[in-house]
C-alpha cells in the first residue's frame, strides 16, 4: 500500500511517500530529517496524538479548566478519552500540572491541568 504523509514535526511540512504492507514499512522517501522518518513510521504503524480539552471546575472564575494528556495517546482512543474528560469535575484551586485523571483509559497517559486557576471568593 502507498500513502502520502505530510510531516508536521516542523513547519517545513515535507510530504513523505510511504510504501507499506501488513508486515511493515517497505520504503519511504521525501523526508528531510530523521524526525520525519520517525513521524511517518508512527503515523503508519501507530498514530498518536496529544489530546487537549477542558474539564468542569467548581469555585473558579471560569466553568472549565483546560487539560491535556501527559503524553500522546493512540489516535483511536480519542473518543474514549474525551468521554472520560467530560465526566470529571474538579474543585479550584487547580495548579498547572495537577493530575486530574490517572492513566486515562489504560493509555498510560494522565490527564493533567494545563492552567492554574485560583479559588474564587465570590462564587
Amino acid at each position: 500500500m502507498k500513502k502520502d504523509i505530510i510531516c508536521i514535526v516542523c513547519p517545513k511540512g515535507c510530504t513523505i511517500h510511504v510504501d507499506y504492507d501488513e508486515t511493515g514499512i517497505k520504503s519511504m522517501e521525501g523526508y528531510s530529517c530523521k524526525r520525519g522518518i520517525d513521524y511517518a513510521t508512527a503515523e503508519i504503524l501507530s498514530p498518536t496524538r496529544v489530546i487537549t480539552s477542558s474539564v468542569k471546575i467548581k469555585n473558579a472564575k471560569y466553568t472549565v479548566c483546560p487539560v491535556k494528556t501527559s503524553c500522546p495517546v493512540s489516535k483511536d482512543k480519542i473518543q474514549e478519552v474525551m468521554k472520560n474528560i467530560c465526566c470529571v469535575q474538579v474543585q479550584a484551586p487547580v495548579k498547572q500540572g495537577d493530575v486530574i485523571i490517572k492513566d486515562v483509559c489504560g493509555t498510560g497517559a494522565d490527564i493533567i491541568a494545563t492552567q492554574t486557576l485560583e479559588k474564587e471568593k465570590k462564587v
Binding site: 505530510i6 508536521i8 516542523c10 513547519p11 517545513k12 511540512g13 528531510s32 496524538r49 496529544v50 489530546i51 487537549t52 480539552s53 477542558s54 468542569k56 472564575k61 471560569y62 466553568t63 472549565v64 483546560p66 491535556k68 489516535k75 480519542i78 474525551m82 498547572q96 494545563t114 492552567q115 492554574t116
Partner: protein, 426 residues
C-alpha cells in the same frame, strides 16, 4: 493619579510578557505591564491546544502552559502588573491615559513604551458577507473564548469560513465537543493555516476543506439556518452556477487578523500599510523615538515563539534607548528595505547603518506559494545575501540575515543610498 515608569509595556500577552522579562533581566528598573484582561497571557489563555514553544522551550506546550512559563516568572520580579487596565488614550510624548478598578483614571508617563497590544479578528462586517443579520456568526477567536474559557458551545452544526489557524483549531475543538463541523471554506487555492493544523485538525476528523470556495450568502431569521457557498474564479469572484446550500446553525470566521493599532496611531506613530503595523527600524523602534513595537501588533505572526523573540528584542532596544545609547543612530545613513519580486512585506522597513558588525534578520512573507527557491537581498542590483528556501507560503514567515557591513560597502559614503530589496530570485 500620575504614575511614572522607565518602561511601559502595553499588553500582557506573549510579546508583552517576553519584553517585560527581558527588560527586567537587563536590569531596567520600574517596568510596568498594562493588561486589559484580568490575568496575563493574552490570547494564549484560550489556545488550550498544544504545539507552542518548540523553538523557545524545545518542547510542545499548550497555550496556557506557555503563558504560565512567563507569568510565573513575572510574579517573582518587581515588575508592576496592572490588570483590568484599559489604555484609553495615548500621546506622542509617551503619556498614556488608562483606567483600572484599583486606581481609577491614571496618567502614566514612560521613558520608553513597548507596544504589544496584539491583534483582532476580521469581522463579518469588514468582509461584507451579504445575507441576514443574525446570531450564530462568530469570529473563530470569540468562539474559542466561549468554548475554552467560558465552557459554552456556540451551536450544534458549524461551517467555518477561512482556513486560518484559529479556524482549523476550532474545527477540531468543536468536533471533540460533539458539534458537527460540516466543512472549512477557503477563498484562496491553498490553506491559510499551518500544515500540521490541516493534518491534525481536519484530516484526523474527516472534515472537508473546500479550497477556492467562499460563502456568498448567510440565511436565517434570528439565527443562522444555513449558508450558500460558491466556487470562485482566479480573481476570487464567485462563479455563477456553483452555489451550494449548506444547512448549519453556526458560522465561524477565520479570515484574517488585524493588528490593533488605534493607540499607536493616536501617538502619531507612522504606519506601514501592508502589515497594518508600525513602520520600524532594525531595533523595532517606530518613527517616534522611544516607542517600540513587537508581536502581532507589529505584524501578524505564525508562531508564538517568534512573537516571544520579537518581544525580547524590543526590550533590548528599549534598554538602549533608556540608557541613551541608540538615538545617535538617527545621524547615521538610513536605507529603506523594500519587498521585491514575490514578497508581500518585509520587516524592518528601514535600517540605520550605525554599526559595522551588526547582523540584521529581515523577516518577510511571500505573496504566493513557492518551492525550492532562493531568496536574495540586493542593493544597487548587487546580491549581498542569499538563502535557499524549500517552501515559502504566504501564511508562514521567513527571514534572511543581512550584514550591515555589506550595506556600507554598497552605499558610496552614504550618498545616493539605494533601497535594500529582498526578493525571490527568478
Amino acid at each position: 493619579m500620575v504614575k511614572e515608569f522607565n518602561l511601559v509595556i502595553i499588553g500582557g500577552g506573549p510579546a508583552g510578557m517576553a519584553a517585560a522579562l527581558e527588560a527586567y533581566a537587563l536590569g531596567i528598573k520600574d517596568i510596568a505591564i498594562l493588561e486589559r484582561d484580568d490575568s496575563l497571557g493574552g490570547i494564549l489563555k484560550q489556545c488550550i491546544h498544544n504545539g507552542f514553544g518548540l523553538h523557545v522551550f524545545k518542547e510542545e506546550l499548550t497555550g496556557p502552559e506557555y503563558a504560565l512559563r512567563f507569568s510565573e516568572k513575572i510574579k517573582e520580579t518587581d515588575i508592576t502588573v496592572l490588570l483590568n487596565t484599559m489604555v484609553i488614550n495615548a500621546e506622542k510624548n509617551k503619556t498614556l491615559y488608562a483606567v483600572n478598578p484599583d486606581f481609577g483614571f491614571m496618567t502614566i508617563k514612560a521613558k520608553a513604551v513597548v507596544l504589544a497590544m496584539g491583534c483582532r479578528e476580521r469581522s463579518r462586517g469588514a468582509l461584507r458577507i451579504p445575507g441576514a443579520n443574525v446570531a450564530g456568526i462568530f469570529t473563530a477567536g470569540t468562539a474559542q473564548r466561549f468554548v475554552n474559557m467560558e465552557g459554552i458551545l456556540p451551536g450544534t452544526k458549524a461551517v467555518i469560513l477561512g482556513s486560518g489557524d484559529i479556524g482549523l483549531i476550532m474545527a477540531r475543538r468543536m468536533t471533540l465537543e460533539g458539534i458537527k463541523v460540516l466543512g472549512v471554506y477557503e477563498i484562496m487555492d491553498y490553506p491559510g493555516g499551518l500544515t500540521r493544523n490541516i493534518v491534525q485538525c481536519l484530516d484526523d476528523f474527516n472534515i472537508p476543506l473546500h479550497l477556492s470556495t467562499t460563502i456568498v450568502k448567510i440565511h436565517g431569521i434570528g439565527r443562522v439556518t444555513g449558508v450558500t457557498t460558491a466556487k470562485v474564479d482566479k480573481n476570487m469572484m464567485p462563479i455563477k452556477g456553483t452555489e451550494e446550500y449548506v444547512e448549519c446553525d453556526t458560522l465561524l470566521l477565520s479570515v484574517g487578523l488585524i493588528p490593533e493599532n488605534e493607540l499607536t496611531e493616536q501617538m502619531g506613530v507612522g504606519m506601514y500599510q501592508v502589515t497594518g503595523g508600525a513602520y520600524v527600524d532594525q531595533d523595532l523602534e517606530t518613527d517616534t523615538e522611544g516607542i517600540f513595537a513587537c508581536g502581532n501588533v507589529l505584524h501578524v505572526h505564525d508562531l508564538v515563539d517568534y512573537v516571544t523573540m520579537e518581544g525580547q528584542k524590543a526590550a533590548r532596544s528599549a534598554k538602549a534607548y533608556i540608557e541613551e545609547s541608540i538615538e545617535q543612530k538617527k545621524t547615521k545613513p538610513e536605507i529603506k528595505v523594500v519587498p521585491g519580486n514575490g514578497l508581500r512585506y518585509v520587516l524592518p522597513q528601514h535600517i540605520y547603518l550605525k554599526d559595522n558588525d551588526e547582523k540584521i534578520k529581515v523577516f518577510f512573507r511571500s505573496k504566493a506559494r513557492y518551492k525550492d527557491i532562493v531568496v536574495r537581498a540586493l542593493i544597487n542590483d548587487e546580491v549581498i545575501a542569499k538563502k535557499k528556501v524549500i517552501r515559502l507560503i504566504p501564511s508562514e514567515m521567513e527571514s534572511i540575515e543581512i550584514k550591515v557591513s555589506d550595506l556600507f560597502i554598497q552605499t558610496d559614503n552614504g550618498i545616493n543610498l539605494k533601497d535594500l530589496v529582498i526578493e525571490v530570485e527568478q
